[in-house]
Subunit: 383 residues, 4 copies
């Protein structure tokens, strides 16, 4: 099959943030090409975006329904192979569902849907159709996250005891959602963002990262959510105590009012014989600490796990960043789509988050919200 | 009064950790001299220590009772002016009480006593006698901690919303208390350390630091304490959600099983207009973050508060450390003792923690322990 | 002109390092597509690479001469618009020259040629043809490098006095060129790399960066080059004192035997009123120091220059890295090619290094080599 | 001999910088006490200082001659054991010489004298009298410097190839010496500071550190010194290429006009199998790099050399700083003086810089100044 995997995009008009990220992440490794899109609910804006992306006029659609139906009629190899959904949260469910129902694989920005009921439907549909679904919990795409996961799995720090995962940002320290900031506007609007604010936007990344790296599951939690900015209706700060299925304990905190913080997702995991520390803002460095000293593990340096190696593109000291981690998800997804087309299998090292992870994230949100309302210390998270 | 302030020491035999710290901290600024001591419950060890410190034989005592009684008989100016109590926790109360009852000022290592009842007694005695009592929550002695406190007080980051304070160590990751490690042995023994383990040893430092820097009081908390190392009887890890009297929220975590961590006390405070970050292991740096960028504040660089300046000894780039912060407490204490002797007053910039701080620390321990046992989410901390 | 700019590539077979970098950098922003290539001097390898890149068979060529001639015959819009030359140094001159002579714009990896005579010819040809030539001194593509350049130009640190630029690597600490490492083999072979080793490979990046950021020209230098690894024939370490045209002084050092260093290009510039520091391995951070304190300047945070802004893709805290800096050159180059096709002009903020920079780099190499042989302290660098 | 070693001080009035450092460094470990002093050339100021230090009136002298003569008449055990010389450079020679001639050991701030002739005289006098002379190249007192030295000596990084040592400061970026800054005034005045400015003040620390850590000797150098600030008469910036006796090469640079730098002495040493990096401003960290990864070596963590251990006072994570490194020199010196008094020998691990180091530093200054004037590239440094 000598061609690239073909992507159709829903959302991602030229002034959007995450659309441009998805497009670059999708195409940079040369495995995927953008062939069509419905880039906005405003047909004019969709046209303008499609032209700016050098797409032919007949592959720029007015809405996702049109895109899915028209593409479906095109012959295999010409039509898109998958749909990439990069809209605000409330428009994840519709295009994902319709794409799956029409036989298209899906990449969807997180959270998978607006609420758990929708997420269950999507997860069930993925199960039923057997189609490939990638949820872009992109931070799991970093090589040093892969290395951390492998190290813990192989016992490098012993049984995990303590996990601290944080995701502080400061950009919503004031009521910027009323100042014309579109990102802020939809992310703080329950109708578009869902029942949670920062918790859904970034807290779920933290939850996903903690479980991905440790291989553990959260089983109980105790949450204290806050809306610090007057006039806001969704949480902009969350403090959560965690308990894991192996007896480990943890803390998860996210914030959008941590004034001066950029996008500082970070995690520390302590086991019986050592600890690991990773910070998204310096993603090529992983610190392995023990009581005998610390070791700086770096992308492309020394003997790394195969998982780290296959998610790295350049030699040591050439920093790979946010786009490359994101691209690792798309590249791995493309490998799976190609294998499906060619009737082959894929090495499990090429992993990516799925609809099941998305569903778990939605249930995590539900559970944290329930705990926040509860006067009981612990709320179970049993899924 | 042309002489140094005279110190008698209880505890601090030559092989102890904290005794040597107190001695260096006390004498390094040239305001205090060690004139006598009861350095061990073992008279031979006390003698040996006193000789190693070049004290005259007649000022090396067999026990603190003897020291206090004998010194009391010496004329003013020859006898010690104050007692420094540097014993394990269970021997704080006795010498402190007796010293106060015999008219001696006191410096006492933290926690102030073994339990709250004793602490109340000491605090009442200090109140009644009017004597000067310094509790060595030494981390408040760092110039950049002073700067942070002044900045917050002056509104540099706006109203405080969020406080994250951490004190992870890794040295008790295994059952070292049974391997002959004396430090570990008494600190994990309830009879010598009190009802809390790591919480009392280092968690109270974190609590004290958070309240000192922010000027806020914790009013509610929710705790999850753990004993991770089998065979241990006191907590070696604590996760605590906090609520403050101005509506701010926080997280306090301490650990002695954070494998690979040395002594990483650190704090982040976020207000409406900015944030501050300080790490004890790089104590001469304070980061002031805002959404417009971050500023590196450094000891002796630029326009610092007077509080920072008077607790600094050298120009920029000459790192001051643990001993100097500790010495700031002793120096300030000496200023107060000297002023008392000379009938003068002291500029409030020369502050230090008191018996009241010690009592508050004991009640914090009680409250965290109660919360840990409770199934209710929130436990009040009203003192 | 509703289409992407079309790239033909010379070199860059699938196992090469820099070819994959160029390809990703070229395509990631969606302005350029790869349409053809002569990827190896081995036609089989070229075929295999082209297929791996999903190119049609008839656009995979046996050699660059064939590519240029055949593409020339295709209609505008179908044929390639420019040639990207990503071969080892000794194969830069040939394809660049032929491409220019046949009317194709060129992107060429650095150094521009094997020697100064060739470089002069290329520079003259660019001048004569008016074609667009981009030399990939990629490190100038980082947003924080742009910011540093703008700050110095606008007087933010006053008149520049002192420049320290370093490029240490450690990968050639042993004679790896005889162990089957292809990268090492050609880079240490004068026939393929030129008269200089590390100096040409990385020292010229340092020279280019220092002059780009400061806006100054080196006028005199004093060099001490070394071959530390026995059996090697080209320099693997260089220490060079610099003097600049405004009276500033500097040091340039590069190394391939700085054991344990990855790719640590970094620069510090001190002016009359402040200093700047940038490190390629943490590229999103620029430190602005003054005697009153330091400021952390970060990609996408606060009020940055327009030059920094237009070379940034994502909000604060989403690290952009090596590929994105490289892509900035390609994107800017594409803007220029597109403007040429459309008869428009380009905002000078979209800059990139040129053949003239390449020629200057070659003369820098010559001058350092001459200085290294000289017993005189200073050798003029007057071009 | 159950008493502290007794120190008399020359210089160090209360408003001086380095006097207070010496006093704290001398007394903090409890081995030395200050018994007398001639603290200023102004007798009134000397009296005032002595009283501020709680000395008896009869041990506060009008000048060093008086101090040495009067103390000489006191009985052993009452009189001072050694003289600490902490005056500006031009008053090092006089008191050192007179002290040695009258049988007193000496601690002297660096540089040892104003010029080489004087230094030779002092070194000869030390040799002749057999008295103990400590030159306070204090940066060699840090535990991690000791560790680095031991690691290199034991082959941990293989044969040394490359040394980069830097000492940038920014405090003399403007002509502060005319603004009433006393430190700046004497340090920029040839009559008080000597023939070199920054080179003598801080460049010699860099030279001493490089040779101490590596165990190598500089044999040739090539210097470019600058006076950047108009109106200044001594160098405020130095760039020096180095060659060492084992074939290694190096760069030494110091500056007092590196605007925004505090006191950033730092060194990187690369050997055949690894590299080491140490920064004075974060002195408890030593980075050991190899091409397989980097290790963070920290004071009190893991298996350190005995040399590092005996120069450390506290467990891991309790930062020791400038005073403690300085104190290590005084403590070691005290051990030697005590051993002399008691007829014992001292373990060589308790080392400190000597008059010979001071003489070498003076000759280094002479050689750099000669090189700076020379048009020849290399000037020999053969001593």
């Amino acid at each position: 099959m000598s061609r690239k995997i073909r992507m159709g995009m829903v959302g991602g008009s030229l002034d959007a943030f995450i659309g441009g990220v998805h497009r670059r992440a999708a195409i940079m490794d040369g495995e995927i090409e953008l062939v069509c899109g419905a880039f906005s609910s405003d047909p004019e804006k969709s046209k303008e975006t499609g032209r700016g992306l050098y797409l032919p006029e007949n592959r720029i659609y007015n809405n996702y329904e049109e895109m899915i139906l028209k593409e479906k009629e095109l012959p295999e190899g010409e039509r898109m192979d998958f749909v990439s959904v990069v809209t605000p949260n409330h428009v994840h469910y519709g295009p994902s569902k319709m794409a799956l129902e029409h036989g298209f694989h899906v990449v969807c920005d997180k959270p998978v849907t607006l609420n758990t009921a929708e997420a269950e439907e999507i997860a069930a549909l993925v199960e039923k159709t057997g189609l490939i679904f990638c949820l872009t919990h992109n931070y799991t795409g970093y090589p040093m996250v892969k290395e951390a996961k492998q190290m813990i799995a192989s016992g490098a720090i012993g049984k995990v005891r303590k996990v601290i995962v944080e995701y502080p940002q400061g950009w919503l320290s004031t009521l910027v959602e009323v100042t014309g900031n579109k990102q802020a506007a939809w992310r703080t609007d329950p109708a578009k963002s869902g029942a949670a604010g920062g918790l859904g936007d970034i807290g779920t990344h933290a939850e996903n990262l903690a479980e991905y790296i440790t291989g553990l599951k959260i089983t109980q939690l105790c949450a204290d959510l806050t809306i610090f900015v007057e006039g806001r209706v969704l949480d902009d700060d969350a403090h959560v105590l965690l308990r894991f299925d192996n007896g480990a304990k943890g803390i998860l905190q996210d914030s959008q009012i941590a004034n001066g913080e950029e996008n500082d997702l970070n995690i520390r995991v302590y086991g019986e014989t050592g600890g690991l520390q990773w910070k998204q803002m310096e993603p090529n460095t992983l610190i392995h600490k023990t009581n005998q000293g610390a070791r700086i593990i770096r992308t492309s340096v020394g003997n790394l796990s195969r998982a780290a190696q296959v998610h790295t593109r350049v030699p040591a000291g050439h920093p790979e960043g946010y786009f490359e981690a994101f691209a690792n998800l798309y590249r791995n997804f493309a490998f799976h789509v190609r294998a499906r087309l060619e009737g082959k299998t894929v090495d499990p090292v090429y992993d990516f988050p799925t609809a099941a992870d998305g569903l778990r994230g939605m249930k995590f949100i539900d559970t944290v919200l329930a705990s926040n309302q509860s006067e009981q210390k612990w709320t179970d998270f049993n899924f």
